[in-house]
Amino acid sequence: MLNYVLSRLFTFIPTFVGVTLISFGFIRVLPGDPIIVMAGERGLTAERYAELEAQFGFDRPIYVQFWDYLTGVLQGDLGNSFVTKRPVWDEFFSLFPATLELSTCAMIFAVVIGLPAGVIAAVNRGKLYDRLLMSTALIGYSMPIFWWALLLIIVFSGNLQWTPVSGRIDLIYYFPDPTGFMLIDSLSSGQKGAFTSAVRHLVLPTIVLGTIPLAVIARQTRSAMLEVLGEDYIRTARAKGLAPGRINGIHALRNALIPVITVIGLSVGTLLAGAILTETIFSWPGIGKWMVDSIFRRDYPVVQGGLLLIAVAVMVVNLTVDMLYGVINPKIRKR
């Protein structure tokens, strides 16, 4: 097991360096001189230009610049936003809980519905339930989620007036946010109606963001279950006279879960990509919206730092999934 962990860590490091190289390169491949871009339309005197060049270190050899960047990154220094002047690192971690809360809810939504749907479809292979569920899953999988969001807004916010259109909570509520997770903070604030308001704001974004993972999980669970249901030990279990619920729920599902967990882990990238669209549409103050806004505002340090932190987050999750995979599936460790 230790060897397995070490070998996974060993491939993590070059990928990390590569990711920093890309985010380092980002600001340098932009068309035009970054300092001129930063100065905007005001223009610069030659002295101020030289001063800024020295300040950002652009006058030094490129490998020295990269080394400084890399050591800075490892110490949590990603530069400051052009717009707010705050450190990118602080901005990221103040917005991250919002995205984490939304993604977690979306993932729970996807698993809670997708897993049973896949199992039901597999157990009823070829029957009406299977066809209905899998057609629905394929539609979900093909869904342009930005359009799906707009449709849900038309129906639930426009026609039925059930849910608000944007934000995380109604503006009438104000309380400190020690954790950054609106559900927890609103509950602990003790204000009447705050928690309900937070939940109502969360429902539509959760459905929108969870749709594609839900479809993927349902499809994957079905095919993994089908594979396992064809195994000899399932036939043995049936021959022993075990109840179908026990066979499907315990003998089969447990083994079918291995590929499903991988898919859930790998959906984290999909979730973050989806968060960009979902947060933009619902004005959800998280990482996705922050990135899109920064791209439009040409706030390059934010784009650069955000890109790096998001990639690292995805890598860490993938690494964790790999490790978990090694724990639940001993076969993989030997390789």
Binding site: T15, G18, P144, L150, I154, G269, A311, N318
Partner: protein, 296 residues
Amino acid sequence: MTEAVTEVARPSALKEFWYYFRENRGAVIGLWVFAAFAFLALFGPWIAPHDPTAQFRDATLQPPFWQEGGSWTFPLGTDPLGRDMLSRLIVGARFSFFVGVVVVSIAATGGILVGLLSGFAPKWLDSVIMRIMDVILAFPSLLLALVLVAILGPSLTNAMIAIAIVLQPHYVRLTRASVLSERQKDYVTSAKVAGAGLPRLMFITVLPNCLAPIIVQAALSFSTAILDAAALGFLGMGAQPPTPEWGTMLAEAREFILRAWWVVTFPGLAILVTVLAINLMGDGLRDALDPKLKRS
């Protein structure tokens, strides 16, 4: 004594493929829808009842014909600038189709070449290539595409380039994996012994046997490309107005969602139907081309 010749003609590969593909009803429906989509993409401007950019100022935000205030002149209604929705949707098909074709061609060609190289290369080069692919895959695809477009400047061409770059590692991994498993086989060794050079070994001996999963991937990434391009258009980083690209149309229509449902509903429906058809086809292709599933 003469031996009886009992030679059964092997069905042609295409026939065999069609036999299995036809089994899957969804895939056949997908194929028909895709054919209609391709037809619209090629001949759209000649079919569309109006010029997609013509603005009929006295008929802005007209609802579809079955609603009160609608007319057959604009069967699916008009947008806020008085442009005919149906014509814009029909002409818009070519942008999505074009995106799919170009992105898949670039990503597949590049990915197959790099994947073949990686599969045949010495270990160190293989490791370097795969680590580079890991780096690209570490970024959420849409985010990387968005940042690339921000660097290159927002346009449909740049969106296509960005999406192709983002999708390419999947082809590299797939090709490399197939190459590695094929290389072990006896027919490759015999070709090597017979004196086949490296290029011949790569492109003529091994590559055709790796194509099945790549074709399936091509179908699936065709739909991903359409979705991503539409998403970029929706965020204002893809095709620019007044291009009737479906994602861009949605972005333009956003502020009218509560007043005019049709300007939002139809472009999205067009994207969904197209992507769904391609995914259905992709599933059928996988069933028909995957020998493991065929036997079961």
